[in-house]
């Protein structure tokens, strides 16, 4: 049976007088019959002469216990054997989060402290001021935590950034949990059906089961969802897209291992490639600021678009000076020919070395990305163009693609989405973009076309209603402006050395240490309202993350069970 958390605040101790009590930081002595743990919300009421009662809210940031009266480390053995009498003292360090009214005075020693519950807790964590709030997870004592939608949807702030070690930090799972909470809470109101999310699947095929319920969800996890006021189930409206399998012609088959139905293959046509100027995304690795390749790419894009006319025989291809550009190979040959022609305007006055460098990269791209750009073989190109409006959640699988192809797909989709939002010109309904491995797309050093788009999203997305939920192993390797624009900073398990870097300056020293021991499913959330980051956990996904979770238990499981060691 589940124990319902108490709804009224309970006494937990007194402000001590042996440590300085300051307005922002004070210590609470905890008697033997009570406890305080990290992150517990605490309330102390203090009387200010002439101003009345001030309610000081805070969160426990550290708790210590010690023997009073013991002098030496070895005293503990004497204490344990019943020889040396000592008192055990427990005290909790509280960091103030809020003063009501705002009179910054220290709570006086001797004042009783209570663990804030119910409405007191809402006040301590500013939940009472969050008009539009969505569940953010559960605090470690199992109470719901919220985040303020006004700071996510662009109203007062936007974007979320998640850092943490791959595999342990559960970054993508948390991003999806936030999406799930957003799509399943009434906060979005009338805009909810039209709010869209584009999620890139960068590792494994975990996200290819979002549309199926997790049949192995435990009762504990179900209870967690209930506490958060969320239903248990899959994402209802999901479009799954996988890159077209290499070597297929005509009928496009998605390159996906774990499931055969419900996944659509995606590719682009020669015509789109030229008209939408996607060439730059073949050259999307970070460049030195001084490199001239970007200039050459822009010239070629320009002349391709200008000199090619639509192919009257095929909607997917174009014709250049009477010669059809039938496939990607032909397109590459066309570009090469033009560059080798000294009289061609395409190459302009750029140095031979720049042209050579361009050629080398084009060759590499032809090999790695070529299969995603179709010419005459495209039968029904419209059906294979990623449509992020068709479903609420669009999953674009790129995990199996080469790095160069990953950048191409990401860059193209980002550009299309950004242009789409610019065209609409209003914030709502929102488009949310979930992108892991940000360091790959917006590295700290150098410039790249994707980084340009991502910077645009970070800086202008707020007014356009394009929200970036970005994730990376190490925030120190990501463009600072992208991190700085995120209203929400989330940290999963961090490498200890990484946690010491400036990018995590928002984490107090104790919290940095904690980031090194976080378990999967636990995150530290920093949000604009609350002055200190708070650890929370989120329930196990209620959508399937692999085929075993999506399908009912099979007999084969029973067979395998026999082989398991007891």
């Amino acid at each position: 049976m589940r124990v319902e958390p108490a709804k009224s605040s309970e006494p937990v101790g007194m402000v001590i007088g042996t440590e300085d009590s300051t307005p922002l930081r004070f210590w609470v002595g905890v008697p033997a019959d009570a406890y305080l743990q990290l992150d517990d919300p605490v309330l102390v009421e203090t009387e200010v002469p002439g101003r009345g009662r001030v309610r000081i809210f805070g969160l426990v940031q550290d708790v210590r216990a010690r023997h009073e009266g013991a002098t030496f480390d070895t005293d503990v053995f004497l204490v344990n054997s019943g020889v040396l009498p000592v008192e055990t003292a427990v005290a909790a360090e509280v960091v103030a989060t809020r003063f009501e009214p705002e009179i910054y005075v220290p709570p006086l020693p001797g004042l009783p402290a209570v663990r804030a519950r119910g409405r007191d807790r809402d006040e301590a964590l500013y939940f009472d001021q969050m008009v539009r709030r969505i569940p953010a997870g559960l605090s470690r004592d199992g109470e719901p935590m919220f985040l303020d939608l006004d700071f996510l949807d662009g109203g007062r702030g936007a974007h979320m950034n998640i850092s943490g070690i791959s595999g342990v930090a559960t970054k993508t799972s948390y991003a999806l949990f936030v999406l799930y909470a957003l799509f399943h809470s009434p906060t979005l109101g009338a805009f909810r059906p039209n709010t869209k999310a584009i999620v890139f699947n960068v590792k494994g095929e975990d996200l290819m089961w979002l549309d199926r319920p997790n049949l192995r969800l435990t009762q504990t996890a179900r209870d967690d969802y209930e506490k958060l006021g969320l239903p248990v189930g899959p994402f209802e409206s999901v479009g799954l897209w996988a890159p077209v399998r290499q070597g297929t012609r005509g009928h496009a088959v998605p390159s996906v291992e774990s499931r055969s139905e419900g996944v659509t293959a995606y590719y682009w046509t020669i015509k789109e490639f030229i008209r939408e100027r996607y060439l730059r995304f073949l050259f999307a690795e970070a460049e030195d600021e001084r490199s001239q390749i970007a200039d050459l790419v822009a010239r070629i894009e320009h002349y391709l678009d200008r000199e090619c006319v639509d192919d009257p025989d095929n909607p997917a291809t174009v014709v250049h000076r009477g010669v059809a550009v039938a496939d990607f190979e032909a397109l590459c040959s066309l570009i090469s020919d033009q560059l080798e022609d000294e009289h061609s305007r395409w190459r302009g006055r750029l140095a031979d070395s720049t042209v050579a460098a361009f050629q080398r990269r084009l060759d590499a791209a032809r090999f790695r990305v070529g299969h995603l750009i179709w010419g005459r073989e495209a039968e029904n190109a419209a059906a294979h163009r990623i449509d992020f409006e068709a479903n609420q959640v669009t999953v674009v699988d790129i995990h199996d693609l080469h790095d160069r192809a990953k950048r191409f797909v990401t860059g193209v989709i980002l550009k299309r989405l950004f242009e789409h939002k610019e065209r609409i010109g209003r914030r709502e309904p929102l488009h949310i973009l979930v992108l892991d491995e940000l360091n790959r797309y917006a590295p700290r050093e150098g410039r790249s076309p994707i980084k340009e788009v991502l910077l645009d999203v970070a800086e202008r997305g707020r007014s356009l209603g394009m929200i970036l939920i970005g994730a990376e192993q190490t925030a120190s390797e990501v463009e600072g402006r992208i991190i700085a624009n995120a209203a929400f900073r989330v940290v999963g398990r961090l490498d200890t050395a990484e946690a010491l870097r400036n990018e995590y300056g928002f984490l107090p020293a104790v919290t940095r240490q904690r980031a090194g021991i976080l378990k999967p499913g636990s995150m530290i959330l920093q949000q604009p309202h609350i002055p200190i980051p708070i650890q929370l956990r989120f329930p196990f996904p209620c959508w399937a993350t692999r085929s075993e979770e999506a399908t009912p238990t099979r007999d084969s499981d029973a067979v395998f069970a026999r082989f398991r060691t007891p």
């Binding site: 009266g69 002098t71 030496f72 070895t74 005293d75 004497l78 204490v79 054997s81 019943g82 020889v83 040396l84 009498p85 000592v86 008192e87």
Partner: protein
């Protein structure tokens, strides 16, 4: 309490007496050695248990049992000089605290009693007075001693503390079934429900003969001498005593270090006294003082812990001193 008491209630000073404070801190130019507590006990009977003083008594190991320790601390907060006519008498304002520790599976503090006193020499009788610090009221009980030797008021404070220790030990002995170890020589002898053992940490006067005293050097840890009877029959406080070694401290430390003298009241049957001596001797090494203690090893660990606690419970002497000086100033100005 409805009415707020004044910062202090001014006690009337004795008629015609000028009361002044000595600016020297009490730890300078004051104090007496512990041997003052070792009085001449007259005849000593060293044959009550055995005539054989050539070998140590080796008690067998004991199963665990509760043990209580009782101790007190005292402190002079302010030295006074009272003068009447041409006569000057020493005095003091002092605090003391007594408490107990019960050593079972865990060692725990028992009740603590804090007392304060104003003591004047030369037979001058001061009045009781109270000092108020914050929400605490410090009450100073008046006491007097007849002589004018400088250490007499301190001696009186020491006796006050000893009396409080004895009262606490007796109270525990009346309510608990265990052995009670009180710090210092045994100063009372009323029968109690369970035995009280006095323990002198250090001794200058050896009550036994020098030949018998040879045995002290040969005592091993947890071993004792035979019992001997102390005290004049007419004085009342007659007790059985023995020496016991509580720790093994080889050279360069001298051979009588780590030896304590224990005492029990002589109204106990001799068999019970022997049994008690065996038990206490066997037990004491467990509680020997920590190496880093300035009075190691005789200052037993529970006693050291208790003393720290008691000193703390007496409050900060600087605050008491400051309050007492304010009081003196106020009495000076009082009509």
């Amino acid at each position: 309490m409805n009415e707020v008491p004044p910062t202090f209630s001014v006690g009337r000073k004795p008629e015609g007496v000028t009361l002044r404070a000595d600016p020297w801190m009490p730890e300078f130019g004051m104090g007496f050695e512990a041997f003052v507590e070792e009085e001449d006990e007259g005849q000593v009977d060293a044959k009550v248990e055995s005539e054989d003083w050539s070998r140590p008594v080796v008690p067998a190991a004991r199963p665990p049992r509760d043990l209580w320790f009782v101790d007190g601390v005292r402190r002079v907060d302010l030295r006074l000089i009272a003068s009447r006519g041409g006569q000057r008498s020493p005095g003091l304002i002092g605090s003391f605290a007594v408490g107990s520790v019960r050593c079972a599976e865990r060692a725990r503090f028992g009740e603590v009693m804090v007392g304060r006193s104003v003591i004047l020499g030369g037979g001058l009788v001061p009045e009781r007075f109270e000092l108020r610090r914050g929400s605490t009221i410090l009450a100073f009980e008046p006491l007097t001693v007849p002589g004018i030797e400088p250490d007499l008021p301190l001696w009186r404070l020491q006796r006050l503390m000893r009396d409080a220790e004895a009262a606490l030990a007796a109270r525990i002995a009346g309510a608990e079934r265990s052995v009670i170890l009180a710090d210092g020589p045994l100063t009372f002898h009323e029968p109690t429900k369970c035995p009280i053992v006095g323990m002198a940490k250090r001794f200058h006067r050896l009550y036994i003969s020098n030949e018998q005293g040879e045995l002290l050097s040969h005592l091993g840890k947890g071993q004792r001498t035979p019992l001997f009877l102390l005290g004049r029959p007419e004085s009342g406080v007659r007790r059985y005593a023995w020496y016991a070694r509580i720790a093994h401290l080889p050279a360069p430390w001298h051979d009588q270090t780590a030896i304590v003298r224990c005492e029990v009241r002589a109204t106990l049957p001799i068999d019970e006294a022997i049994e008690l001596a065996d038990e206490v001797t066997a037990r004491l090494p467990t509680y020997a003082g920590r190496r880093a203690d300035p009075r190691t090893p005789q200052n037993l660990a529970p006693i050291a812990g208790l003393e720290t606690w008691l000193r703390h419970r007496m409050g900060d002497t600087r605050l008491v001193r400051r309050a007492a000086l304010s009081w003196l100033r106020a009495t000076e100005m009082a009509p």
